[in-house]
């Protein structure tokens, strides 16, 4: 995304905001829908058809499920308990068929556009191993913007209606806005219809306080993206692209910087999206909660890309772990293994699918599948060792030294995960890990990776991000703190924020515009 594009985007977002305020209550959400679709058509052209097909399909599927529910309500009148139970069973079967149809229809777009080349390629490699040359060509498939994000939202909507969490929406345009809301199509977050979906379609009155709060978050998001993340990219791309030329210390340093790059970039863009929503008075879906202070990888994933983790938990993990085969398996284990393994094994099976899906969601390659399973293995080892420790000590270990050790350990594990994530292939990731121990200098300036100006700004950025996170971790709300200051201090803060972006932004000569990392998913 070039910075010219960013200025266009800011201009576009401002126009939409002003028009939203002018339009009568009843039509406010239609302004958002119209401009969201304009934005989508301009950035996707004919690929927009996939978003439209998904929208129409889930709208109809949910209404169909609703109709079946109504049928149950009418037919159950006057029936005895047993007959009611039997009718419910039949109705559930019917509903399940409709749901499966909806899931297959929508997943098929994602599978074809995102995974088909990978599936065919893997098939070709397998055939090659068996001595058959299949000559499989890479298909020129283009992915529509945000397909991985809006497909998950679409599935959550029909599954929620199926589960009876809420009724199907009868207004088609509201569903269209829920899936197509323009800022969320870049990097999410993955929202739910009963939360963000309902909120964006309700009319919101203009509020000066909301506008200021939103703008503050947007400025902070822009600082994280343009000043911090894009500058960190200089070191990261130089080292990851030519890792053979660098010492172990330089590689380790670049990996740590990458962790901060992806954190500041992803959370920065989410802050911009959340800021836009807050300007309207809409409550954004949370996606980050200071993940770098996590004590274990489970906690890290509860605080990093929260909306993806929550989606996988609610729609994959619970669906599998509470399914009949898994609960039956759990019962069969009763008395045959220890109490711990009785609970652990069914969960471990379910979590395998969660982490496999997590890896695959990030990209169509073995590297991403390995990335997901890397966390799965760590979590499983963590569960078992935790149980062994509790069994031995009869209590949870908890003091400040253990906490510090756990945070550092988790940070190291997360960094290795980020290395796998960023490296071009899995083989390169392993080679880079192998090169950790290669001696040599850490002098990046001397090695001509970066100049002292950019390097200093990267150090300052990392310190600022950590301080802001620490302040928030202590429960201090920075924006409420700013609110209490006199108007001239508040405006001075805004002006300084904007000047920081203009003066220290990593744009112009010598800097490469960096596309949103999660945008490609």
């Amino acid at each position: 995304m070039s910075y010219k594009m960013l200025i266009y985007f800011a201009f576009f977002a401002s126009i939409v905001f002003i028009l939203y305020q002018i339009f009568p209550k009843k039509y406010k959400y239609l302004v958002l829908l119209l401009f969201s679709y304009l934005f989508y058509f301009f950035s996707n052209s004919y690929l927009s058809i996939f978003l439209i097909l998904t929208t129409i399909s889930i709208y109809l599927i949910a209404l169909w499920i609703n109709k079946v529910n109504q049928e149950f309500k009418t037919k159950k009148e006057g029936l005895d308990k047993e007959a009611k139970k039997e009718l419910k069973k039949q109705i559930n079967k019917k509903k399940k068929k409709i749901l499966v149809l909806g899931i297959i229809f929508n997943l098929s777009f994602l599978i074809v556009l995102k995974y088909l080349n990978f599936i065919l390629g893997s098939f070709g490699s397998l055939a090659n191993l068996c001595g058959i040359d299949l000559h499989i060509k890479v298909l020129p498939l283009l992915m529509p913007l945000g397909i991985s994000f809006y497909t998950l939202q679409a599935l959550s909507y029909i599954i929620d209606v199926y589960r009876g969490k809420y009724e199907a929406e009868t207004n088609f345009f509201k569903i269209a806005l829920f899936l197509g809301f323009y800022p969320a199509l870049i990097e999410g977050p993955i929202s739910r219809y009963d939360e963000l979906g309902k909120d964006i379609t309700e009319p919101h009155e203009f509020s000066y306080e909301n506008m200021c709060h939103g703008l503050q978050l947007i400025i902070w998001g822009l600082i994280k993206k343009i000043v911090m993340a894009d500058r960190m990219n200089i070191i990261v791309s130089a080292v990851f692209d030519n890792y053979q030329d660098y010492s172990g210390l330089v590689i380790i340093f670049a990996v740590i910087v990458y962790t901060f790059q992806i954190y500041t970039e992803f959370s920065g863009i989410i802050d911009i999206v959340s800021g836009i929503l807050e300007m309207y008075g809409i409550r954004p879906t949370k996606n980050f909660e200071r993940p770098l202070f996590s004590r274990n990888v489970n906690e890290f994933w509860r605080k990093w890309h929260i909306s993806l983790g929550a989606w996988l938990r609610d729609y994959v993990f619970y669906s599998i772990s509470l399914s009949k085969p898994i609960t039956a398996f759990s019962k069969r284990l009763h008395g045959k293994v220890s109490k711990f393994f009785e609970g652990f094994l069914p969960v471990a099976i379910s979590l395998f699918f969660v982490w496999f899906a997590n890896g695959l969601w990030h990209g169509a390659s073995f590297k991403y599948i390995f990335y997901g399973l890397y966390y799965y293995i760590i979590m499983m080892i963590g569960q078992i060792t935790h149980e062994l420790i509790v069994q031995k000590t009869k209590k949870e270990l908890d003091n400040k030294y253990i906490k510090a050790f756990q945070i550092v350990r988790t940070f190291i594990l997360v960094n290795i995960g980020m290395l796998i994530f960023r490296a071009d292939t899995l083989t390169i990731a392993f080679r880079m890990i192998g090169q950790f121990f290669q001696s040599g200098t850490l002098n990046l300036v001397k090695a001509d990776v970066i100049d002292i100006y950019d390097l200093s700004l990267i150090f300052i950025s990392i310190i600022v991000v950590l301080i802001v996170d620490l302040i928030q971790e202590k429960g201090i709300k920075i924006r409420e703190f700013i609110d209490k200051k006199p108007i001239y201090i508040r405006y001075a803060i805004y002006i300084i924020g904007i000047l920081v972006i203009i003066i220290f932004g990593a744009y112009g000569d010598g800097y490469v515009p960096v596309d949103p990392i999660y945008g490609q998913f």
Binding site: R163, G164, K165, N298, E299, R302, R313, D314, F317, Y318, S319, S321, L322, T327, S330, K331, K339, G343, P346, V347, S350, L351, Q383, V390, K395, E396
Partner: protein
């Protein structure tokens, strides 16, 4: 109540179940433990908890878990 406390104590003996009011937010009940708890509840009570019942609000405290069981028993 007693039966539920017995299940919970067996699941995680280190937690003061009766006095904790925010089991989910404080990380005392992870999603993995919730699954183990649901299987136990389904086995020991005349209910069948499904994914739709597994929302944080139902697992804030012993009281909310018990309220969920009672609600399902009366359905």
């Amino acid at each position: 109540m007693e039966e539920l406390l017995e299940i919970l104590n067996e699941l995680k003996p280190t937690v003061d179940w009766e006095n904790e009011e925010d089991l989910v937010k404080r990380g005392l009940l992870t999603s993995m433990e919730i699954v183990r708890l649901v299987v136990e509840i389904n086995d020991n009570f005349d209910v069948e908890l499904t994914p739709i019942d597994v929302v944080p609000e139902n697992f804030y405290s012993v009281k909310t878990i018990l309220a969920l069981i009672e609600k399902l028993e009366n359905e």
